[in-house]
Symmetry: C2
Amino acid sequence: MCHQCVIEGVKKTMLSRRALFTGAAATGVAGVAAGLAPARPALAQTGGRVVDLTHTYDSDFPTFDGEPGILTEEAVNFEESGYQLLKLTLFEHTGTHIDAPLHFSADGASVDELEPQNLVCPLCIIDITAKAADDANATVEAEDVEAWVSENGAFPAGALVAMRSGWAAKVGDPSFRNDEAGGLAFPGFATSATDLLAEQGVLAIGVDTLSLDPGNSADFAVHYSWLPGGRYGIEGLNNLEELPATGATIFVGAPKHRGGTGGPARVLAVI
Amino acid sequence: MCHQCVIEGVKKTMLSRRALFTGAAATGVAGVAAGLAPARPALAQTGGRVVDLTHTYDSDFPTFDGEPGILTEEAVNFEESGYQLLKLTLFEHTGTHIDAPLHFSADGASVDELEPQNLVCPLCIIDITAKAADDANATVEAEDVEAWVSENGAFPAGALVAMRSGWAAKVGDPSFRNDEAGGLAFPGFATSATDLLAEQGVLAIGVDTLSLDPGNSADFAVHYSWLPGGRYGIEGLNNLEELPATGATIFVGAPKHRGGTGGPARVLAVI
């Protein structure tokens, strides 16, 4: 049975099961008609606790290429001027940041061209911490997606699906980026999973590591298949362990400099 | 009657009027007990339309000091490397951006130290477009705050109060920053208003101009009284005319570089 068939089967099962709930009131969710994947559930399910999915970053924050991602210098001094501000020199793909389609395509959407509506999404989290503990280059596979759907139901329309590998806790340690031999080593998505997510109408993916692809990827297959399709990705997520597998809403505070390929983003979740 | 007394009087009136609504269902707002200023209404009142309050910015975007706020250069070329990214050189207070307390104090909170919970706020908009059309340096005064409360009720707890002056539409024109004599000229807040807002528990203020203080301010009185108190401000808001005076939720995607005094922010509202 193909992946798509499994998902469709699950959808049907969930639909008949959920049809028992005939009104939004039964689930405490206002304004959402009963059913499987409401058009833009976004905020309706939220209650108000904010979880910051963003790392604080500075020139010591690990980067994919190993070079400092940001340098700061004082531009105005408080003692001299009565106020203060910094000049920042930064490479776009630093800290918790967004990859716009343009990052891996010649003419995809730049970060300022993303639809604002697509920066507020239902957040779904696929937990692979168990296999990542055994394999630093573990990936989210199609089977992990199917297992998630079996347990949680279909992805809400316009969802952002994040990989939780447990890597955020390593951010101050060399093992965030490298294995003991010094090679890049961290979990990511496999295309078997992202192809399935694209079929399911998922809008964006996120990881708690340095890259959408695993550290040992030779071909950036996920970057090349996901981003040019007009979808975006978030790298370097923090605090995913504070959230449920589904039910939170994610706000992607993507930068809006003209023509950008991405950049540091403030990412918040509300649950 | 002092400003505070007026506000308290209005609160009492509104409370007795609102007591008629004895359940959240009456207003279509889930999870919020009836009353005046619920603890953190934030998302409960939202329905799902996202309004982008952020300008796209580049080196031509107007700045307070008149110098380019951002310079971009290609760091990786797509034809050569199969992907691309930019190096950015920017001054923190550029584009639609946040002023952290540290911007106008020696040791206030830096932008990475702001409480995430305080970046998701009920948004209240005070419209002074009529008087700003007659006076480029018009300010939001205590009387404007009182008039807003008379019409809309008390500010929700933890609100962000934004001035709408109509200035966002001028952003490509010299009149966004200057009068015909070349002096700085744009609307802002007066301390008579911000003192009252602080008393009311308002958490942050925002403007659709280059500064929290009006262009002709000689002393930055609002910056010096508002920010060191631990509150923050947003400058350069866009699209406020698409939102009601109250009822939207604002998400302030503040940057999170360590020790920052502020910086470009992605600001979204959901209504």
